[in-house]
Amino acid sequence: MNPSLFSPEGLAGVIFLILICVTMIGAIIATCTKRLIRSVSGLAVCFVGVAGLYYFLSSPFVAMMELLIYVGAVCVTIAFAIMLAEPDEAKMARKLSGLSGGLAAVCGGAVSFALGYAAVNGHWMAPAVQANDGSLKMIGQSLLTKYSMVFELISIVLLVAIIGSVALARAGRRGN
Amino acid sequence: MEVQAEGAGEDKAKAKAKKEEDVPRKNGLIETEYAKRGTHLDVQINPDQVVKAAEILDGEGMTLEMVTGVDWLKEKQFEVIYDYSYSGGQLFRVVVRARVDRDHPDIPTVCRVYGGANWHERETWEMLGINFVGHPQLEHFLLPEDADFYPLRKDFKP
């Protein structure tokens, strides 16, 4: 039941493959480059790919939030931090080689293999019926009813984060 | 400062005036005719007195307008001329002169008194080679950084 390449489904499949590539390439750039600013760009690319995957998982809202928060906020923040803290890149590059690289590859490979193995071999049971369509409206409703605790927690976490980061940044400044 | 009222020498015979100006002047004050010279008071002092003079004039609320260096090659001297003016109302211009030896052109800086003297002295240093002792930054300013000549000296050959 392979769809034709030129049917809408086929095109969607191609786009999905492209998205996977984008995600993987982004992840590779994010972890393997020497310069941090490049790895942030890689991270941004990876997140764009992930947002696309979310779109395929029929939750466009989360996809958009992924772009808005990860690419627009987190990546920018990290880029700012790199500018402010300006790591010594030559030194960094020197340290990258050797043992830690091998160790890291072994760790990462092992973890992903284990997880992938578990995923492929798992017996996942699909539910008989889904309670709703998981649309934006439903998310909103459940956020304010069933999962209101989560909602409150998010806001508290964010508030604490804002206050904490402002306090930390200011304290460092006064230390001069 | 020693004050010698030499009187206005301008009205005297020309020959005498010429003679007077040929030899370097003695220290002291001269009241000059403003219409003719553009200054009211002409003060000749020793190099070590310039800071004191600047302090006195600063106390009177005067402004240091410019610092000029003149190379008197024949007399083997540099003359440093400080122009002071009064911006507080009445017109009053004082010119303070000090002569230093051409071989050891050291003169104390008035930077501490007048911040604006910084650039003027720096310029005089690089154009004439007059060393302003105590100046915070005697570096090349208008000339290129590698200039090892003093263009305003009279014996300067380009």
Binding site: P8, I37, V76, L136 | -
Partner: protein
């Protein structure tokens, strides 16, 4: 298959629309600047200088691509392309007419903001990649300004979402009626502060598109040319085109959210022409403002955001919620 053909047609149409806009907005700006300043603006190339964009484009394209020695080559080359992508992609969601929508998303508004936030990162990358301190400062400024003004802009947009109950851009337009008093800007029955809210949104879109008086990212008086100091040729051209693309998007969004999109102000002949009319009027306002005002400082900008825009938008949000709940 039909769907594919429709999409293809839309893509072609959009490409033409975009290309014309990006080229001729530059002409409009220069001509406008000229006349605001007692000059004539471009005049010699073609009638009224209408072929000027072509000449400019040719000039930019024929220029040598110089990569500065200090630059991070990959990032330097990527940034102009990266900044174009979201700017162009966003056109897909804009409803030009009731049935003239390339693709209707039911979260179009959110998508606008999501993609717009990506643009900031590419400015930062371009500024950093140039290896120039001016570019770096400018990039940092531009991005922090974008982030700061996204807050009041989002809050104001949430207002509209609350009023219309939808994030679908076309739906938002549909809900605004045919007459001028039915547009969101004058929906005083929903919130008394709607005109001010429009002003807030307008100012924010000025800031988001890095236009004077908020062009902190490219203030030539201080930072030479800002984040595109080191770009020449088409690199610079892409940055400029992205600026105009963002301009079009910002004005379209303002039109859609507040000025009734393709709705007619007099109740007859609704259609894309009204949309374009309103959008170009807003663009003209942008040009007008640019050639009238000096630039603010960074603190002036943050002051405006925190002291005026955010309080106003929050108050408006509360008022709207109250009105919706009460009436």
């Amino acid at each position: 298959m039909n769907e594919l053909i429709r999409l293809l047609a839309y893509m072609l149409g959009l490409a033409a629309f975009l290309g014309l806009n990006l080229a001729y907005l530059g002409w409009v700006e220069r001509k406008g600047a000229g006349h605001f300043q007692r000059r004539t603006g471009p005049k010699d190339v073609g009638p009224y200088g209408l072929l000027q964009p072509l000449a400019d484009g040719l000039k930019l394209m024929s220029k040598q691509l110089v990569v500065p020695a200090n630059a991070d080559r990959a990032l330097y080359m990527c940034a102009p392309i990266l900044i174009m992508v979201p700017a162009v992609l966003l056109f897909v969601a804009i409803p030009f007419g009731e049935h003239l929508v390339p693709r209707e998303f039911n979260f179009g508004l959110l998508m606008m903001f999501a993609f717009a936030s990506v643009g900031g990162l590419s400015i930062l990358i371009g500024g950093w990649g140039s290896g120039n301190k001016y570019s770096l400062i400018a990039g940092a400024r531009a991005v922090s300004q974008n982030v700061a003004y996204e807050i009041p802009m989002l809050i104001t947009a949430i207002n509209i979402v609350m009023i219309t109950g939808s994030m679908d851009l076309n739906e938002i337009v549909r809900q605004q009626g045919a007459y001028i008093w039915n547009w969101n800007i004058f929906r005083l029955d929903k919130s008394l502060l709607m005109p001010i809210s429009f002003l807030v949104f307008f100012i924010c879109s000025l800031a988001e598109t890095n236009r004077t008086p908020f062009d902190m990212g490219e203030c030539e008086g201080e930072l030479v040319a800002g984040y595109h100091t080191e770009y020449g040729g088409m690199g610079f051209g892409l940055f400029m085109m992205a600026e105009y693309a963002n301009l079009v998007i910002g004005c379209s969004l303002t039109t859609i959210l507040f000025l009734g999109g393709w709705q007619s102000p007099i109740g007859i002949f609704p259609g894309p022409h009204w949309f374009l009319l309103k959008m170009y009027f807003l663009i003209w306002c942008f040009v007008w403002i640019r050639w009238t005002y000096p630039r603010t400082t960074f603190w002036g900008l943050l002051n405006l955001s925190w002291k005026y825009l955010i309080p106003f938008s929050l108050v408006n949000l509360l008022l709207t919620a109250l009105f919706i709940k009460v009436f």
